[in-house]
Symmetry: C2
Subunit: 475 residues, 2 copies
């Protein structure tokens, strides 16, 4: 749920921005933006229409400019909000206390690629699809794929994940190190290029997922993968949610190194079939699978999964061996959001995600489907089933009194349910503004340690204030 605006109102002398602007401009090559249109553009991500514009937008070109801006905001006690591609969905970039939004998209250099080390270093503003285009010539790719064409800095800041995580891990496993600018303007490096380290506290993992509340990520060192020799994809449909998830768990237990394993429930398939004109598929619980490896390994993996699926009552195991068929299939998967919006015919969509132990996923999804039915809203369900992670796209009509609140309550109960089943209220979208009220339930007293880190790293609380951490007594 959105926090009460009364508790998130500006807590700094807003008039001070006028005196800060000349100093900001003197520190930057690009003009500081203060027009209403620019401020409105930077006041929201891709989520619900919760929107609050910053007072100014800066676009630094290098680490030095980032540090200069941080120092000025730190001294003036002005909020500072990092901004990548604006694709976050939990309100992470909404400037609820105004202040300065820092657009990092001009810092978009691919600094170094090493095919021999299977790593690269990029500035925070590099986008995922462009990076993979640049890597293809070296036979490499970066496997974290959240769907959106996000920046690598934003993906690091939200600990992004997505369809490839079941095989290749999330940003947690694929970032080797960072360059970070602290709240008071120091430029620091975390981690090294080594694949592992036992040297000191893991600052890299601490900044991953910190949503801009501890500092600004300006460079990211990434692990890369060799492009697989062979790729194959398949779909399989099931009579029930339980049957589909029994196969998913069986794949993991058998150690079959599936590269992607996605689940869509019947309402989600209905939307996808209509929007993407999918042939040969019905509105039934469905697994989308992808296999990477040598041609023989891919064939063997796929046959092993087909055997599991057949044993569980799955039918219509359909292959997509040609690249164009695979692309069409995965495009349909990635188009789930527009498919749901099209199905909604003008209704708004509230996305939410949750993640549970894979043993609890079937129970969690069945309970959630019953909850959706009881709520009387439509909310197609799709997810990264190999990680125990799923999404709801809750459709609601903002013009109908109470419908937005019912959608929020459904999202909230989905997070609560995941926590009760041993999981987390967010597997990959993060906390932002929308899940603050689940943090105490999930983390209990450990929230005090998070606040201790926040105060130690950002004593004036300028970094993306009001996000990730719910208010605490000492805050």
């Amino acid at each position: 749920m959105l926090p009460d605006p009364a508790t998130t109102a500006a807590c700094w002398p807003r008039a001070g921005i006028a005196t800060l602007l000349p100093a900001l401009q003197a520190a930057l090559r690009e003009p500081v933006l203060t027009s209403p249109a620019a401020r409105a553009h930077y006041g929201h991500g891709e989520a619900l229409p919760d929107d609050a514009p910053p007072d100014a937008v800066v676009r630094p070109r290098d680490n030095g400019e980032v540090a200069a801006v941080a120092r000025l905001c730190h001294e003036a006690r002005v909020p500072l909000i990092p901004f990548g591609a604006g694709t976050s969905v939990e309100g992470q970039v909404v400037a609820i206390q105004g202040g300065v939004t820092m657009d990092l998209s001009l810092m978009d250099a691919i600094l170094d690629v090493s095919p021999a080390a299977l790593d690269c270093r990029v500035q925070a503003g590099v986008r995922r699809l462009r990076l993979n285009e640049a890597l293809r010539g070296d036979g490499l790719f970066f496997p974290v794929d959240p769907g959106a064409d996000a920046t690598l800095g934003g993906m690091a800041a939200t600990r992004a994940s997505g369809t490839g995580a079941v095989r290749y891990g999330t940003m947690r496993e694929n970032v080797l190190g960072l360059t970070v600018v602290t709240a008071d303007g120091r430029i620091l490096r975390t981690g090294t290029r080594a694949r592992k380290s036992a040297s000191g506290y893991d600052l890299t993992r601490l900044f991953l997922g910190s949503e801009g509340t501890l500092g600004i990520i300006t460079e990211v060192q990434l692990r890369l993968q060799g492009l697989p020799e062979a790729v194959s994809a398949a779909t399989c449909q099931f009579p029930s949610v339980e049957a589909a998830l029994e196969v998913a768990v069986g794949v993991l237990q058998s150690g079959i190194p599936v590269a992607r394993m996605e689940f869509a429930n019947a309402p989600q398939m209905r939307c996808c079939i209509a929007f993407s004109r999918l042939e040969g598929l019905e509105a039934l619980p469905t697994l989308f699978l992808e296999f990477h490896g040598s041609p023989a390994a891919v064939e063997e993996q796929a046959l092993a999964v087909e055997a599991l699926a057949t044993g569980a009552g799955g039918g219509g195991f359909a292959w997509a061996r040609r690249p164009e068929d695979r692309s069409r299939l995965w495009k349909a998967r990635h188009d789930a959001l527009p498919a749901n919006l099209a199905h909604g015919r003008g209704r708004a969509l509230m996305g939410t995600d949750a993640c549970v132990p894979i043993s609890e996923l079937a129970a969690c999804i069945l309970e959630t489907e019953a909850d959706i039915a009881a709520t009387g809203l439509e909310a197609p369900l799709i997810g990264h089933v190999g990680d125990g992670n799923f999404h709801l796209g809750i459709l609601f009509d903002a013009a109908v009194p109470g419908e937005r609140e019912r959608a929020q309550t459904l999202a909230h109960r989905t997070g609560e349910r995941a926590i009760r089943l041993g999981g987390t209220c967010s597997g990959e979208h993060g906390i932002g503004l929308h899940k603050l009220d689940l943090m105490a339930k999930e983390h209990g007293g450990a929230l005090d340690l998070m606040w201790a880190i926040k105060r130690a790293f950002d004593p004036y609380g300028i970094m993306n204030p009001g996000k990730l951490l719910p208010p605490c007594d000492g805050a």
Copy 2:
């Protein structure tokens, strides 16, 4: 190098321990140990004979007792040093300021195993081999294998890794969550049972590798793997270090999912052949390989590696398909330390490790071999080549003036070299006491953030003082 004892002397009123003992005993079911023999037993790990006994040893039986001891030490400002199996090698458990050592080995319950979720929860004192024995009946195993039969709590606290990391990751990738007792005695949980999360700061990864300086790990939630259907092992020998490492890099670039890939240089092979009576192997640079998967996948992976090896001039590709042959081979690998000690005929052994990008590993090893030769000491080299990680076992005669110092200087230069080549001064042994003087070189200004965390979590500096973090201005 070891820190100057003058700077690590007791900084608390040592006489106070006498008044603390009755309160400690009242909080614990097991007797507090203060005999010289008990104190001596807990004064060192498995490293060099650097040794400093604590003033007392406590053996808690549950989280409540751990918390009570922490509260008492916190109030009395007495150092508190967590102790698992005592297998750390960088001085992590040496009680350089005296105080209370906490032996967690009585907390050895396997709390929960879920074959369906592929996870388990254990108390910190459970040892690795016992856990894997308990899991075997369910067809599961825990893949992090540092060699020593360490406790899972100790492995978490040092971010342990080992031979399986190239395929399955280190503790960083295989710990889902922790129970932690803070310096002031709060019992907190970090993480969840979900495989991934984007909910809040990653406290789990912060405690992993913190070497007891931020709190006491009392429970560990672990990801498990299904036992592979087929396992196969092989050795291959090469005319040069470069040829062996060219193959190792090629395996990674090809995405062959090798389960273990170890390298031993010629002097190391000489020791292993003599000690383990290995037949058919010569004192040449050697790769030890293991493959996990279906029978067909294992066969295909092994053939692909053999082709790479043959292309690089490798010879004597020898299979170990029978379990007893594999066991003998891996026992020889794990017996590298006693092999080196036997070769040393009474000399002491100083172990060190370093980790670099895999593209720099050949250069790093060649430079290190030249450095060893110039130093005039023997120092066999072995390592987890798939991670860019290697170990030196530096043999020295403590009775020869200056020889220990030459060994320390060689270890120090090895860490410096790794840092210069983009890596870390420790891939898996940690910092403890012995690598404090490399921390500033590796982390630069980021050390200030580590100190900020330390002060926020442990304001009186009681948790394992003098380890991991070199002194700083504010310390």
